[in-house]
């Protein structure tokens, strides 16, 4: 019950934190807007953290199969944090940091500060998401093996 109340509170507060119009690496303008997408990322992040905690508490995080799913959830959580940061930083970054034109897309990025550098690194989010998905796949395969071994 307490958990439910906490979730409702978090879900209710999120729209009031980011009140500015936003743009992202991937455009989420118009009817969708950035906020809803960021909220989705937050919810997903919370879910992955929750799953990790549950797996650790139940002791499944060290069992074959579930161990990879645990790492997958951890990477998904990291990916969410990363994308949240990138989406959010994209709104405040100076447009002059991008230069060049490659089919209407910037060709170079000029990092003037550490956040700029982190933003650049964060744009490689597919590395995290792909790795997480790969670990999820490996985890399920491990579960199949366990299932086969069981009499």
């Amino acid at each position: 019950m307490i958990r439910k109340v906490l979730f409702i509170l978090i879900y209710s507060c999120i729209p009031w934190i980011w009140t500015r119009p936003a743009l992202a690496v991937q455009e989420h303008g118009g009817a969708e807007g950035l906020y809803s997408h960021q909220m989705a990322h937050l919810v997903f992040f919370s879910a992955m953290i929750y799953l990790c905690i549950r797996l650790v508490r139940s002791g499944e995080s060290v069992r074959k199969g579930w161990r990879w799913i645990f790492f997958s959830a951890l990477l998904f959580a990291c990916w969410n944090a990363d994308t949240f940061f990138v989406h959010q930083y994209r709104e405040v970054i100076d447009p002059q940091t991008f230069s060049g034109n490659f089919f209407d897309q910037p060709w170079t990025f000029n990092a003037h500060s550490v956040p700029d550098l982190l933003y650049y690194l964060g744009t490689y989010d597919h590395i995290l998401s792909f790795s997480a998905l790969l670990l999820f796949f490996i985890g399920i395969r491990g579960l199949i093996k366990v299932q086969r071994e069981r009499p």
């Binding site: 991937q26 969708e32 919810v43 929750y50 490659f102 170079t108 990025f109 597919h126 590395i127 395969r141």
Partner: protein, 517 residues
């Protein structure tokens, strides 16, 4: 700080990551489906499948939108991408939330699945228990059927026995004790092979109590306590066996009763035969003196010229035969009275020595004619008793009559009378030197209608009821009569009568008067 970083690696990672992610997403869905299909009962696998599908949708939309973005931008359709971008982003957001929601339900699904498993285990346990109960029930049913069979067999056996009882057939006990036959020691206890069954005394049902004792005692060399003997206990555990034993007891009792009845019936038949024989003898004996009387009376009428001596001889014969006829009739009347309980006694104090003297005087003539010597021993003292003088004289006459009849010429009759060592009874004995009585007939001769020497019956005379009358008379006087072998080779009759005393006299008179009243 100023770094100039290329953006093309970012685009390259985006494109390649999106393409590979599509494959991985499909692979994950395929594997989850496999996992779920292998064990459809497990809800966790179904749950993982749904998460995989959600991830798959999310990844496909995200990757496709990324790839499409590059395609549209490169080929100059940026406006199209700008139109589609919000939709792709919305789908991406929705799938993200969907996956998250599913993840939040992980614990609940697990709990539900565990409770489901627990219920399934409980159900399995209940199923096993029901199976066990079913098996037990089956066994009980089998046992009941077996009991029914046993009951039916017992019923058939009982019906058979009842039929046998009704028809008066063979009453041999047929019940077989199953517990005993199961015992290794009594494997052969099946009807004809059973050693107890062959025995007249033991029956199969006795094995528990009697035969086992023999076996046990024989085997271990010690006495077997039936009540503690395991064979006996096992034999008595079975209620059907107990019932069978009781029934067998009852049958045994009936069998004994039947034997007794058969014995009584035989006795009656024998008695009837004796009575018929007695009637024949009586008729013959009555006719014999009567014929003699008639013949001699006729001779007296026809031959009036005969000498007085001859006529006197004829008359003596007539008188003798008449007396014999009278004696026979009296004996017959006496036995009838005894049987009907109408014998009358006139009790009075008397000296038995006088009775003996009188009887000796009566029979001395007959004995003298046959040359028989009469020896009297210890007849000097008085022998006071309370009794019927006439009846006691009848007893002595009977004994003397028998002695004189069966003692051959030149024989000897010894009469001894005196008080016994305590002085409470008088003891009289009449011994002769006749043929004697066989050992087996010493008691028989006092029974009614019993006579020795059937072939010579008419030669010696008598009806065979004299001694039985004597016995009745002596027993009325609280006395005792019996026969023995005489030292001199013949028969010896002994008579014991209690001496008269004031106390005994009063008691005897009182009892007699009460019986008469």
């Amino acid at each position: 700080m100023n770094f100039t970083l290329p953006m093309w690696p970012v685009y390259l990672v985006d494109i390649s990551g999106s393409a590979l992610s599509i494959f991985l997403a499909f692979g994950a869905v395929f594997m989850s489906r496999k996992l779920s299909r292998r064990d459809p009962v497990n809800a966790i696998w179904t749950y993982l499948l749904w998460i995989s599908i959600a991830f798959g949708i999310f990844t496909v939309f995200r990757s496709v939108s990324h790839l499409l973005k590059f395609y549209l931008v490169i080929f100059g359709y940026k406006s199209v991408w700008q139109a589609l971008s919000p939709f792709a982003g919305a789908v991406e957001s929705i799938t993200l939330v969907f996956v998250a929601t599913l993840t939040f339900y992980y614990e609940r699904v697990k709990k539900s699945y565990r409770s489901l498993i627990r219920e399934r285990d409980l159900f399995q346990d209940a199923k096993e228990e029901i199976g066990l109960l079913n098996t037990n029930l089956g066994r009980e049913m089998d046992r009941m059927r077996e009991s029914e069979c046993k009951l039916e067999n017992a019923h058939a056996e009982i019906s058979k026995l009842i039929d046998q009882v009704r028809s008066g057939g063979d009453l041999s006990i047929r019940y077989r004790n199953p517990n005993l036959t199961q015992c290794w020691e009594l494997k052969d206890c099946v009807y004809e092979n059973c050693p107890a069954y062959k025995s007249d005394q033991l029956r199969c049902w006795h094995l528990g109590k009697v035969y086992c004792c023999r076996i046990k005692a024989g085997k271990s060399g010690r006495e077997c306590n039936c009540e503690a003997c395991e064979i006996y206990i096992s034999a008595h555990k079975d209620p059907l066996t107990r019932f069978g034993e009781r029934f067998n007891d009852m049958m045994h009792f009936l069998e004994n009763k039947q034997k007794e009845l058969e014995g009584a019936n035989r006795d009656l038949q024998e008695m009837d035969k004796k009575k018929s024989k007695f009637l024949d003898i009586v008729a013959h004996d009555l006719r014999t003196p009567l014929t003699s009387i008639l013949a001699y009376a006729d001779l007296l009428l026809r031959y009036k010229s005969e000498s007085a001596e001859t006529r006197d001889e004829f008359l003596r014969t007539i008188i003798f035969e008449s007396r014999r006829l009278g004696d026979l009739i009296n004996d017959y009347l006496d036995i009838s009275k005894i049987e009907a309980g109408l014998m009358e006694y006139q009790l009075e104090p008397l000296n038995f020595r006088e009775v003996i003297d009188h009887v000796i005087a009566v029979y001395s003539g007959i004995c003298m004619q046959k040359g028989i010597q009469i020896h009297k021993n210890s007849l000097a003292q008085d022998l006071p008793i309370l009794g019927d003088k006439r009846r006691l004289a009848q007893v002595m006459s009977n004994l003397m009559s028998n002695a004189s009849k069966f003692t051959p010429a030149q024989g000897k009759i010894s009469i001894t009378a005196g008080l016994d060592s305590n002085g409470e009874a008088i003891h009289i004995s009449v011994s002769d030197t006749g043929p004697g009585i066989p050992e087996t007939h010493l008691e028989e001769i006092f029974k009614k209608f019993t006579q020795l020497h059937d072939g010579d019956l008419h030669a010696v005379g008598g009806t065979g009821i004299g001694l039985s009358i004597c016995k009745e008379i002596v027993e009325f006087h609280d006395g005792k009569i019996w026969a023995e072998h005489s030292k001199e080779g013949g028969a010896s009759f002994h008579l014991v009568l209690p001496v008269q005393g004031p106390e005994r006299s009063g008691r005897l008179l009182e009892s007699k008067s009460a019986s008469e009243g």
